[in-house]
């Protein structure tokens, strides 16, 4: 585990690095948060979404053909 002074020197000493890390972190957070909330939301509503309904229709269509 790095000591606190190395953390200070790499992230908090230069303001440009501090601000840059914040913006980079925000960008990464945006991407991760959106994809995780979307995947949870789609999982919570499984069966009701159009992609699930379309799959069901296709499966039923295959059954009818058989």
């Amino acid at each position: 585990m790095k000591s606190f002074s190395t953390i200070y020197r790499t992230f908090f000493k230069r303001n440009s690095v501090f601000v840059g890390t914040i913006f980079a972190g925000a960008f990464v957070f945006q991407v991760l948060f959106d994809s995780s909330v979307t995947s949870w939301y789609e999982n919570h509503n499984k069966g009701k979404l159009w992609k699930d309904v379309k799959a069901q229709i296709a499966a039923a269509g295959e059954e009818d053909e058989d």
Partner: protein, 316 residues
């Protein structure tokens, strides 16, 4: 002269409150007073707002309040059941579109919601739309495409009224948002037609009785009956099933942003509540020194701590 009166009045006021010393602590007293003031203000403003209109409605005039059905899209995290939207469009197309328009819904909005793009192109192509005139200037018709809007059954209001005994079937694209009670009202209305109107009810000619319709007399007769439609996914087409599906479809037509709105709402609530709790903690952290400061009173002792200095300084 007035300052004297004011001074005497305040002196008397001060002694009055001192005589009736409050039994509660000042914080509790402040809280109760604020609560009383707020309650008083709220009640007065509600009474005033109520007095601005005077709808003297009987229960029949108001319409029977529909029950709260357990829609699968009720709740802040629930999407529409898109299979129900698909079936609902079929019900609209086969039952309702004979009289009701759906002017604000474009064919393209249904792609990826309840039908594939080819299905919607096929459905749109079944209808005729006005085209640019030909070289001679004669009007032409063309097949529908995705960019077109769902066509209306009648060309204008007069034709609609003429075909429906003078009553205008309203456009359905916003009906779920436009009626008090929303989807619950619509479902109750569609399934709420009794066999006969109650005893003593006199309907105007051409009306039908429906308790959920304000006034009770609605121009539309019951249209949903069992097995009126044959669903392609094999769902039994009972009256209530068709009513549920068409109501879901109409709610989608009125609120196409519904699913995305709830997803974004979830994101917003998560972020904002986290930031709020963080700010509560930061405030408490910054205020900790002030909130825990102590005052110490050291009463003066008889002997002075410091001897008054003399010059030149006395030795001992």
């Amino acid at each position: 002269m007035f300052t004297n009166i004011a001074r005497n009045a305040s002196r008397r006021a001060f002694s009055w409150t001192a005589a009736t010393a409050p039994l509660k602590s000042s914080n509790t007293q402040r809280f109760l007073t604020t609560g009383a003031i707020l309650t008083g203000l709220t009640a007065s403003s509600l009474l005033y707002a109520d007095s601005l209109t005077a709808d003297a409605m009987t229960a029949a005039e108001h319409g029977l309040h529909p029950p709260s059905y357990a829609w699968s899209h009720n709740g802040p995290l629930e999407t529409f059941d898109h299979a129900s939207i698909r079936r609902g469009y079929q019900v609209y197309r086969e039952v309702c579109a004979a009289c009701h328009s759906l002017d604000r819904v474009a064919w393209r909005t249904m792609v990826g919601v309840s039908h594939t793009v080819d299905e919607v192109k096929e459905m749109a192509a079944e209808f005729e739309y006005d085209d640019e005139p030909d070289e001679q200037g004669n009007p032409k018709k063309r097949a529908g495409k995705l960019a077109d809007y769902i066509p209306a059954p009648y060309p204008n209001e007069q034709a609609a009224r003429a075909a429906n005994q003078g009553a205008l079937p309203p456009d359905l694209s916003l009906i779920v948002k436009a009626r008090h009670g929303g989807p619950d009202y619509l479902f109750a209305l569609l399934t709420g037609y009794p066999e006969d109107p109650p005893e003593g009810v006199v309907l105007p000619p051409g009306s039908n009785y429906n308790p959920y319709f304000p006034g009770g007399a609605i121009a539309m007769a019951r249209v949903l009956f069992d097995d009126l439609v044959e669903y392609e996914d094999g769902t039994p087409a009972t009256t209530s099933q068709m009513a549920k599906d068409v109501t879901t479809f109409l709610q989608w037509a009125a609120e196409p942003e519904h699913d995305e709105r709830k997803r974004l709402g979830l994101k917003a609530i998560l972020i904002l509540s986290s930031l709020y709790l963080l700010s509560v903690w930061v405030k408490k952290f910054k205020w900790a020194g002030i909130k825990t400061r102590k005052f110490v009173y050291n009463p003066p002792t008889k002997k002075p701590q410091f001897k008054t200095p003399t010059f030149p300084p006395k030795k001992n």
